[in-house]
Amino acid sequence: MTTRTILLVEDNADDEALALRALRRDGLDACVEVARDGAEALEWLNARADATPGPSLPVVVLLDLKLPKVGGIEVLGAIRRHPQMAHLPVVVVTSSRESRDLAACYAERANGFVCKPVEFEAFSEAIRTVVRYWLEYNVPPPVSVGD
């Protein structure tokens, strides 16, 4: 079995460190890749999606919304427009509770929307639960599925 990956798109180094800490302590069977802005995330994803055969796509993308260069919603849109990634699981993890963000994310077919809690315990719990769900319980779509 090849190592499965999770892509964390997060520009805030503190949030990145806290998320990695939360995931590390859970002993997950996956490695975490980190992209620090939207452009980097898309570059990384596109390289994997276009390579055949090549390293597989991540199990889930944890996507922040407020990102430098290319914003989270634009990243989500680009992912959905790519034929190989139309069904790639993307969970938006953000500090924003604005209803327009919520609407925009679901309009771009996000698989989930999580508000980052301020308290660390709650934050860790949220990250761990989301990742565990996609890693352990969710059955991914068949490879042939794609627009």
Binding site: D14, A17, L18, S95, R97, K116, V118, E119, F120
Partner: protein
């Protein structure tokens, strides 16, 4: 060159006069022929006949004289009355402030009143020689010909706005009324023009149009400014929601990491400090959430509906019971309370008010919260939430509804001081008002209305 009405005899009058004269001729001839025979039949004597002839002749002359007198007198009276009426009319026309003139069918000016003198600058005398084109602006030189054509075509009254040029070259806006002028036989002889100066009215209406446009422009500008301000406020609260939470999470997260990973190297005082740091982070997080909620209640679009307030209050109460199942609180919600309000915002009001009552009764052994409705003098509904909790001093009643205003210490009753400000803002958006009554240690009552008529 004057305004005298022509008292002409019409065709009918001539006919009447003709018939009268003919009748008189007939009666007189018959009388002359018949009366002599009558005299001859009545008297045989020549002297008596002569005397009767004299009486008859004198009587006839007297009767004719009386008729003549009556007729001439009537005619003279009628003429003098007509003349004085004509003079009166002429005076009115001559002195009218409107410019009144009469043109003959060739377009020559044949009458010119004082109003025309004042408006256009030519005297009555000068107007006799005046070319009518001098009065017309450059762009309307054919106006009078067209007008005469219409009058000749049978139109009795022509009226339209136009312009005139004065002696000194100014242009005057006038409202023109043209009527037919005809002679005693009904033959068209000219056209009477009444020109009313509407320069001032036009200027006023142009001013109204200009002011309206200016007002609309100002409203547009103000709307743009407000939209900009709103957009700024929105991006501000967006930044608050996103950017202020991130550093807080870092402070809280790394404090916890420190507590967990380096507990052995920290003294109990150090650990206590770190716990205080994380507690402060929690409060700050709550403060940000409450502030955002306050800003949302101001910006969110409203849709008013009939809301079952009793049900909303019961739901809020059961939520509160679920958060603290150990507490014994009696919550009395009046039956069938309904309100016209935005359902989401009204729920926020009840969450804050019943939530406050729940919080401030926490130190009472028997806590009672009451939700109900009264009517004010005008019969408008006044809703209230009453508790028997900590209460407050009425001298601070005015401070209750401002953001961050607190009457109790954080250790006594936790809170951010934004809840009642949110309530006040929501009630205000519905056009109602909110006020509070209380006594320290004896509880508080918050009352609110939801429509501008009440309270």
């Amino acid at each position: 060159m004057a305004f005298y009405s022509v008292n002409g005899t019409k065709r009918n009058d001539r006919l009447t006069a003709g018939w009268l004269a003919f009748g008189y001729l007939a009666v007189a001839c018959v009388w002359i022929l018949m009366s002599d025979r009558l005299v001859a039949m009545v008297a045989r004597d020549a002297d008596v006949q002569l005397a009767l002839q004299h009486v008859k002749g004198v009587g006839f002359v007297v009767v004719t004289a009386v008729f003549l007198y009556v007729l001439v007198l009537r005619e003279l009276r009628a003429r003098s009355a007509g003349e004085s009426a004509s003079r009166m009319l002429a005076t009115v026309l001559r002195n009218s402030s409107d410019a009144i003139s009469v043109l003959d069918l060739g377009g020559r000016i044949v009458a010119w009143n004082h109003g025309a003198e004042r408006m256009y600058g030519w005297t009555e005398k000068e107007a006799e020689e005046l070319e009518v084109r001098r009065l017309l602006p450059e762009e309307g030189q054919s106006e009078i010909e067209e007008l005469l054509a219409r009058i000749r075509g049978g139109e009795a009254l022509v009226t339209y706005p136009t312009r005139r040029r004065t002696r000194d070259g100014r242009l005057v806006d006038v409202w023109l009324t043209a009527t037919r002028v005809s002679d005693e036989t009904g033959q068209l002889t000219g056209v009477a023009l009444t020109e009313h100066d509407v320069t001032a009215e036009l200027a006023a209406s142009r001013e109204v149009v200009r002011l309206n446009a200016e007002l609309e422009e100002r409203v547009r500008l103000r709307t743009r400014q407000l939209e900009t301000a709103n957009a700024e406020l929105e991006s501000f609260s967006y930044s608050v929601s996103h950017d202020l939470r991130a550093p807080l999470r870092a402070i809280d997260g790394f404090s916890r990491a420190l507590l967990e990973d380096c507990a052995g190297q920290l003294s109990s005082t150090g650990q206590n400090y770190l716990e205080r740091v994380t507690r402060a982070c929690g409060r700050m997080g709550q403060l940000i959430d409450d502030l955002l909620e306050l800003s949302r209640t101001t910006r969110a679009p409203m849709s008013v509906a009939t809301v079952d307030l009793s049900r909303v209050a019961e739901q809020v109460a059961s939520d509160l019971r679920a958060t603290e199942p150990g507490r014994e609180v009696e919550i009395r919600v009046a039956k069938d309370l309904s309100a016209r309000a935005d359902p989401v915002l009204l729920r926020a009001v009840m969450q804050n008010l019943v939530g406050n009552a729940w919080k401030f009764t926490s130190q009472k052994s028997v806590a009672v919260i009451e939700v109900g409705m009264e009517c004010d003098q005008e019969g408008q509904p006044v809703y209230f939430v009453r508790d028997n909790g900590a209460g407050f001093d009425m001298q601070f009643a005015g401070k209750l509804f401002g953001p961050f205003q607190r009457l109790h210490s954080e250790s006594e009753f936790p809170g951010t001081g934004i809840g009642l400000a949110t309530v006040a803002r929501i009630v205000g958006r519905h056009g109602g008002r909110v006020w509070a009554e209380g006594r320290p240690g004896e509880g508080a009552t918050i009352r609110f209305t939801l429509s501008p008529e009440a309270g």
